[in-house]
Symmetry: C2
Subunit: 105 residues, 2 copies
DNA sequence: TCGATCATTCTAGTCTGATCGAATTATCAA
DNA sequence: TTGATAATTCGATCAGACTAGAATGATCGA
């Protein structure tokens, strides 16, 4: 994952409202959550919610699947894993080593 | 870590320039990197760099230690670890399970 | 087709963030 | 103290983000 892509995803997660949406979707697991239910639970104006969902979809963090009249939203776990990998591999190789050294000392 | 704090940290990492700064600091390890060296390596205007560093410090992602005339910048590895923990514990418990189930199937 | 529900898009207002040049503060060497 | 270097703060501009009400599009039951 390129660093600009990572930044885009972090930016998407950097808004409190969007982070709550994302967390709700991740917790929902494979079943996902319809837009309407998110709206009820998080008490967000529909237009605002839709705006944030679009941002999350564009960032690749979630996807939406139409099921009859409702739109079901799912977290993209692979992308989340990619972010974690970036934090660990691209960033934290030295960090972990340093930390271990420190802890051991 | 509260969800708003997490959002603040993600937001800080959500700017490409800041993410590059942060990555450079994480890679620098315990030794850290002076502001001036960051400025040389990343080719950012001093005032812009200072602005972003302030944001990272405020978010708690890095800290600065004065050493004579230079300011040495360090990544806060504990905070990074806290972010990872949030992703895993607050978010991904179901995700990992679902993934394993899927992979096994 | 009509009506109802679900969700998005449009439009607009407000606000915050990114950037950089210029001026300022801080530290040290001589 | 003076001069030099390091870094921040100030001031201004510009672009983009957040929010939400109103209007529109999509889907299905009757």
């Amino acid at each position: 994952m390129k660093i600009d892509d990572v930044a885009t995803k972090f930016e998407a997660l950097g808004n409190p409202t969007r982070l709550k949406i994302y967390r709700a979707l991740v917790r929902a697991g494979e079943a996902g959550t319809p837009v309407g239910r998110l709206q009820e639970r998080l008490k967000i104006a529909p237009s605002t919610l839709s705006h944030h969902l679009k941002t999350l979809v564009t960032a690749g963090l979630i996807r939406q699947v139409r099921e009859a009249t409702t739109l079901n939203c799912h977290a993209n776990y692979d992308v989340m894993r990619g972010l974690m990998d970036f934090m660990v591999a691209e960033c934290c190789a030295d960090a972990v080593e340093s930390k271990d050294t420190k802890s051991a000392a």
